[in-house]
């Protein structure tokens, strides 16, 4: 569990270096302060690589859960660096990729949609009588979207075995939660949907694991959709370009004192589960693993431009427009077509 936390932190720190070096294609989204929410939750599920396990829809701030479900570090770096060798061949970014055998479906940017999609994935478990559950992450911002509500309306009415993780990190880009909703806790929304719900300290990996384990048991037992609210703080900007001028520095200091890795390290030592030396070794190992994976990805090629025409349909070819040829000639085009 600590290893997964350390890998998440190290992977994102490596991304920051890569971005400064100009290797990262687009935005970079940190989950600093939220790592325990992703890791603790994923630990509560049945993770298998043969297409029979539980199912995960992470957000970009739940990369730790993706890694625990078998998402490869090297693919994570390939995605951020838009490599041809990545799982989307450079057509999509970050954690936006899928592996149905391992049991994960990466998100799309309108994040509320993933509640709808996971409603359908867990509906299929129900239709086939499979003892599997699904878990969908969504931020507090996504909870304001129509898709989030429509997905929940459908999933609760169908009693889908779905766990909704609400990442209550207090910000939707630059808008505070108080401007997204009047409720103090997202669990207050739960009775309106007939959801089971718990709120948990999202910086405490073991508490997250325990709360999510209870939610998973209820979902697996046929009690329908379950919500787990993760209370924590997004300590970085929405993306790396966001300097967080809107954040009170005192708040950041307060939450730095509740860093999930630091808290768990303390606990590990206090309980005698690990020594400081063992913890240091795990962190170094994680850093090295990320460095090697990133180096591998850097060395790999970018996609060829014309790959942009591929895979729009399974059976219809997308043409490059003849008017964009070097010497457009309608007569030639007419004869050729």
């Amino acid at each position: 569990m600590y290893r997964a936390l350390a890998v998440t932190r190290a992977a994102e720190e490596r991304l920051e270096i890569l971005q400064k070096q100009g290797h990262v294609t687009g935005g970079l989204y940190r989950s600093l302060g939220q790592e325990a929410g992703a890791v603790g939750a994923a630990f509560a599920l049945n993770r298998r690589a043969d297409g029979t396990g539980d199912f995960l829809a992470p957000t970009v701030r739940a990369a730790g859960a993706l890694f625990l479900f078998g998402g490869e570090l090297v693919d994570f770096f390939r995605q951020y660096m838009a490599r041809a060798t990545g799982p989307t061949g450079g057509k999509e970014s970050s954690v936006h990729w899928v592996d149905f055998s391992k049991g994960f479906v990466g998100p799309v940017s309108p994040l509320g949609t993933m509640v709808e999609v996971m409603a359908g994935i867990t509906l299929s478990f129900k239709i086939r009588g499979e003892p599997r559950v699904g878990m969908v992450f969504s931020g507090d911002g996504a909870s304001s979207t129509g898709a989030w509500h429509e997905g929940l309306s459908f999933a609760t009415a169908q009693r889908c075995p779905l766990i909704l993780m609400v990442e209550a990190n207090q910000w939707a880009f630059a808008t505070p939660t108080s401007k997204n909703t009047r409720v103090a806790s997202f669990t207050e929304k739960a009775p309106g949907y007939g959801l089971g719900a718990e709120s948990v300290d999202g910086t405490d990996v073991l508490a997250v694991f325990e709360a999510t384990s209870r939610a998973a048991s209820r979902a697996r037992a046929g009690e329908g959709v379950q919500m787990v609210e993760l209370r924590y703080y997004r300590r970085k900007g929405h993306a790396q370009h966001d300097a967080q001028e809107y954040v009170d520095p005192a708040e950041l200091t307060e939450w730095e004192a509740r860093d999930p890795l630091m808290l768990f390290e303390k606990r590990l030592v206090e309980e005698g589960w690990a020594t400081e030396a063992e913890i240091d070794a795990l962190r170094e190992e994680a850093t090295e693993e990320c460095r090697v994976a990133a180096e591998t990805a850097i060395a790999e090629p970018l996609p060829t431009g014309s790959d942009a025409t591929r895979d729009v349909y399974t059976d219809v070819t997308t043409q490059h427009p003849w008017t964009r040829a070097a010497t457009p000639d309608p007569r030639v085009a007419m004869d050729v077509i």
Partner: protein, 341 residues
Amino acid sequence: MNGPIPEHLQKTARGEPVTMLEAISEGLFEEMANDERVFLMGEDIAVYGGAFKVTRGFLEHFGAQRVIDTPIAEGGFTGAAAGAAHMGLRPVVEMQFMDFISPAYDVLTNYIATSLYRGAGHMPLVVRGPVGGGNRGGPFHSQNVEMAFFHTPGLKIVYPSTAYDAKGLIKAAIRDDNPVIFEEHKGLYRAPALREVLPAEDYVIPLGEAKTVREGSDLTVVTYGAMVHKVVEAAEVLDSEDGCSVHIIDLRTLLPLDEDSIVESVKRTGRVLIVHEDTRTGGIAGEIAIRISERAFEWLDAPILRVTAIDAPVPYSGSLEDYFLPQTDDIVTAARYLAAY
């Protein structure tokens, strides 16, 4: 299978003619019977059998796991269809009226249409439902929705005009590995003139292939859906009163567009009229016209013209709606202008 096939879905088996609605019901039923991955979701489709009764008797035969009554959450259940498609099922979603597809626009365009391209796998699902005016349905029960989706690569759009085509196309749409929007003109659903005896054996009509409805040499009319029948009426008038021979193409599939059939015909007649029930600005006529311009400009003897609905919401009162919709006389008038050009 749970018990016998309902009587009303055995007309083709008995050699009796069917309406377009019955043809669609038979097509859906056969695909569900042949492939257990196919299942239905929509508002009031199970217990009630659907607002137009397309799925009457399905719940009793296939059970509640495969015929699912949903909340009024078009985005929610269309998104759920995407999830089910990821897991290897083949969902068919009904919009009670296609006017209500707009909450699902997000998931259809951002998620479903892009899935294959994003490496998230193919999306074998169908979104079907009634469209079209002429039934005094007013602004929210009469729209055509094709052009809201025509601009989205990754989707296919089908719009049949006959019972035979509707059955063959719905079956092809369900078997297609790409997401398909399937528009059913409610004015054609139970039109007596469209009743026909269908082949007893299984058949499909490939998506993306237009059909020649009538051979002609003076003028090409490109159309689809309910307008096909008005264009045929107009062609008969033009033939008998003007001696004008009209070639009619029924697109059947709007996306991908069967450009070759259009261009081939235009090269023979040199004159082309595009007729659609949908509103004018941003209608499919614009896209067809530019493709003809790109590929057959020098074969044209006259400007490309269109007859369409007016640019307005669909009005309720009969007098207003008849004025709003393209009528046979409008088509005759435009065709005469073109023929004399």
